[in-house]
């Protein structure tokens, strides 16, 4: 035991940066699966609806195959989500110890949605051969609702970290009373939650559509592939313009309510009016904006078009240095913001292209250029989501509970976190590789028309063991 203790001494490294790295890494991985988990079921149901209503065999095949891919991605997403649940305690025990009574409330509700989702996804996959078409269709609806509810609850917890409220503290700083409704429906919640929900549909749609865009570029232009492209791309192309409006509202809300984060986003060192919108660029160590393209007055104008360029934007200097993001963090937030808005704009243009061609020609764009763009839209959408989370998380630094607890005071004291970070990183790398390989091999099998049985996917019904099959003829 003393040997172990000595080993622990040598292995001990300041846990805070490693805890942050591990949380960021596992969250960044999990969030890739989130759009699929939230929105894929709705697209499968659109295909399923069409299949029943119009007796469409292609749509039916799509819905069946999608439900099987969904099962694999959901199973992996459930696992990476469970890891996050553990990490709240393992990496941030002091945060949970002090704030769990409030922060935990949205998660208890999320548990309900997670449960519902897990049960109905199994029912849906089971139901293909065990239920009649319409009752089977309806078993898919709770998956969609649970995905929406789950998103709204998880984001409620994150929004609460940005706008903590709904609790009373005593003189020691311990929570003595909680108002669950105020915790859930905190002021940041409607803006953040709607932004993430639309993002999930946007990214999920582009991710799935991009697979079929690649297929079409490779010459698989049959009706099945076309439908596989059209359903998710249409969902994404509806979500994208909506997201421009939702995102704009959130940005303006941030301007009014989280001025420090907003100053980091817009790269505003000192409070002033007529603030330029700086594309790219960075703050140097003197606190001056360096490089990038400055559009005069635009940041002020966008913050409040009513007052135009006269709008005063609070600078980073208004917040004490130890209560605002560091220079590096500010530059990270600004770059992430540019990436998110830039990619979002490109995706918006792609959606506009789609709608315009649709209006004038009553058909999707036929050009290979469009398909090439569409085939990278999935990756672009995921990058935009990652960038968006970077903005909201890094922009809150150094706080874990804004204004109440700093990240460094929330972390575990275990010096071995760097070990778990490396193990988790390797494990996730293997997991991601395998996930891609498995999805590809499923797709190859589908194409080879060796239809995968329901029992070959997680949650699928039971397959009779060979021993039982052997005996069947005897029994018959």
């Amino acid at each position: 035991m003393s040997l172990l203790a000595a080993g622990g001494g040598i292995l001990a490294v300041d846990p805070v940066p490693w805890a942050r790295a591990q949380m960021a890494f596992t969250l960044a991985c999990h969030i890739i699966l989130v759009p699929l988990g939230v929105s894929w079921a709705s697209m499968a149901l659109i295909a399923n609806w069409r299949a029943i209503r119009r007796d469409d065999a292609d749509a039916l095949l799509l819905a069946q195959r999608w439900s099987k891919y969904m099962a694999v991605t959901f199973a992996v997403g459930a696992v990476t989500g469970t890891v996050l649940t553990f990490e709240f305690g393992l990496l941030w025990p002091k945060f949970m110890g002090q704030w769990g009574a409030a922060f935990g409330i949205p998660f208890s509700i999320e548990g309900l949605f997670f449960f519902t989702e897990a049960i109905f996804i199994a029912l849906y996959i089971f139901g293909w051969k065990r239920l009649r078409p319409w009752p089977h269709f309806w078993t898919g609806v709770p998956i969609v609702l649970a995905g929406i509810g789950g998103t709204l609850s998880v984001v409620a917890a994150n929004a609460w970290m940005n706008e903590p409220q709904g609790f009373t503290l005593n003189s020691n700083g311990d929570i003595v009373d909680v108002d669950p409704l105020k915790v859930i429906f905190n002021e940041a919640w409607p803006y953040e939650a709607s932004h993430m929900l639309v993002a999930a549909y946007l990214a999920g749609g582009f991710m799935i559509a991009s697979v079929y865009a690649v297929g079409m570029l490779r010459g698989r232009t049959d009706r099945y592939h076309r439908l596989g492209f059209l359903i998710p791309f249409t969902v994404a192309a509806v979500a994208t313009p909506l997201q421009m409006a939702v995102g704009d509202t959130l940005a303006r809300w941030t301007f009014n309510n989280e001025p420090t984060k907003f100053a980091a986003i817009e790269l505003v060192p000192e409070t002033s009016s007529d603030v330029p919108e700086t594309l790219l660029g960075r703050l140097n160590s003197d606190g001056d904006v360096e490089g990038g393209i400055a559009i005069p007055g635009l940041a002020s104008w966008l913050s409040d078009p009513g007052d135009g360029t006269a709008t005063v934007v609070q600078g980073l200097d208004a917040t004490p240095a130890d209560e605002r993001p560091t220079l590096r963090e500010v530059n990270t937030v600004h770059l992430a913001w540019d990436v998110m808005v830039g990619l979002g704009t490109l995706l918006f243009l792609l959606s506009a292209w789609y709608w315009l061609v649709w209006i004038f020609r009553r058909d999707m764009p036929r050009s290979r250029l469009f398909l090439r763009f569409a085939s990278v839209a999935g990756v672009a959408a995921v990058l935009a989501i990652e960038a968006g989370w970077t903005v909201t998380e890094v922009g809150r630094q150094p706080w874990i509970v804004h204004g109440h607890m700093k990240v460094e005071d929330a972390a575990t004291t275990n010096g071995g976190v760097w070990v778990t970070f490396i193990v988790v990183a390797l494990l996730y790398l293997a997991l991601a590789t395998t996930l891609v390989l498995v999805l590809r091999s499923m797709s190859r099998r589908f194409r080879a028309q060796a239809e995968t049985a329901d029992s070959d996917v997680p949650y699928g019904p039971r397959e009779l063991p060979p021993s039982a099959k052997e005996r069947e003829p005897v029994g018959g």
Binding site: A78, T82, Q98, F126, R130
Partner: protein, 334 residues
Amino acid sequence: MDDAVAVVLFVVVTAYAVFGGADFGAGFWDLVAGGTERGARPRALIDHSIGPVWEANHVWLVFALVVLWTGFPEAFASITLTLFVPLTLVALGIVLRGSSFAFRKSLFRTSERRVFGAVFALSSVIVPYCMGAVAGAIASGRVPAGGRAGDPWSSWVNPTSIVGGLLAVASVAFLAAVYLVWDARRLEDGLMVEYFRRRAIAAAVVAGVVAFVGIFVLRADSRYVFDGFTSRALPLVVLSAVCGVGSLVLLARRANRGARVAAIGAVAAVIWGWGVAQWPYILPTSLKVSAAAAPSASLTMLVAVFGVAAVIILPSLARLYVLDQRDLLPEEGT
């Protein structure tokens, strides 16, 4: 209200143990089933019996964590700070187990399946062991109150934790074997009925021996909980023993349905016995349930959520079990 939340916590933990535990136990039997050829038949039955509700089982665990951190945040902080190592192993084991479960079903080459199968089986043993060790750490009073860290190693590498870990592995193996007997019977596979019946008896005997030795270990190592087990929790200890022996007798008499109920009773009674034995402490003997509890609004919320879960989720879960047992639509029956 804090009592109610403690009860909810134990209900959730029990549900996880009897539903999820059986999945871990099935992984144990997968591990010890032998070489590819010899183990093919039991493995096929195991694959078949790890049902569709696997991930739903998993949600019990997430739910238990959420109830613990929302209802008893201080205790949660102490537990996660002290038991960083075993809890990390549990999380990693769940990743390995979950992903190999997700992928094994989608892979066709035997060599690939074998690798994932081995990972699946090994992590199925590590996870319940660590969970049992965590329970032992809490029961033996090695997790200090006040959101402070206890010893990172001796807190879970100690006599009580070892007993807890072994008992957990033996219990889930026992549960799984009993369930597998039931499944084999349903499939009219006489060979496998016999195979798992023998293993159920072996696991029950091992669990019994570990529990018996455990009594003496607790007496020396975890006095408060020992006193609890021998006084107010005694009826539950007796119930567990009666259920355990009863399930063996029923298995021997080939009354598999009864054996299954009795096996669940045996495991559930041990868990409830643990809870009653360390009452009124959540961390014996430094933190009482009442002192660890969150403000009452948070507790009410948890009880309400549990109520909603009982109304909405349990019927859906039941529907899934029924659908699982049901055969294909007539026209699909091939």
